[in-house]
Symmetry: C2
Subunit: 128 residues, 2 copies
């Protein structure tokens, strides 16, 4: 029991910390925005993005500012037949960072699913 | 183009909102705590949980309170050979809610991975 306990403490230290779950991306609304944009490489109009994410104008604007500050998203004004249009796009950096994030998310699912299948769950708590 | 736009607006409204990403579970530290606990069905001692999640005593306590309030986790004091021990466990409700959450997380990965494979990304932005 002592050996098993030591193994868990050293070999698996911070095993479930998921440091790669970048808080800028992980926040639900921003994850929603980034997933919408990564699946639409040519960009999305503000109004479409708002609907995809089920966000209000104010909330979408607030989260776009955070993502722009982090250089993960670019927001540009265009004119389409004289009508002003705001187009949001994921940047190459945003794409890389989002895909890195996705890898960590996959690990969470692998870990969580292992419990569902009963692979884990046999470890007895040690004293604290 | 107009038809395509309508289809997107009606058929895929809130397509990427991920309403099932419960904020109590989605917060990174709490996701870490719950994944640690669901993979250890017999519970974890406070000290072990702290190491698995790479959290300080204060932060772990704070997040455990949120999870206890939501009835997703139970925290109990035991005596192990006279030594007091705090054991944290995921509740049956916590297990169900975590697994529901995991399903939504899987959808995020499916959506994000589709972009990586170039399945999506051809939609042109419509005016807002």
């Amino acid at each position: 029991m002592q050996l098993k306990k030591r193994k868990i403490k050293s070999g698996n230290r911070s095993r479930f910390a998921y440091g790669g779950l970048d808080r800028v991306i992980h926040e639900r609304a921003r994850l929603s925005v980034l997933t919408s944009l990564i699946t639409h490489a040519k960009g999305l109009a503000f109004g479409e993005l708002k609907e995809f994410c089920a966000l209000t104008d104010g909330n979408l604007n607030r989260h776009l500012l955070v993502l722009e500050d982090a250089k993960l998203v670019s927001v540009a004004k265009h004119h389409d037949s004289g009508r002003p249009q705001t187009i949001c796009r994921i940047t190459p950096l945003g794409r890389r960072r989002y895909l890195d994030y996705l890898e960590v998310l996959e690990q969470v699912i692998v870990d969580g699913a292992a419990a569902q299948e009963g692979v884990a769950g046999t470890h007895r708590p040690a004293s604290n």
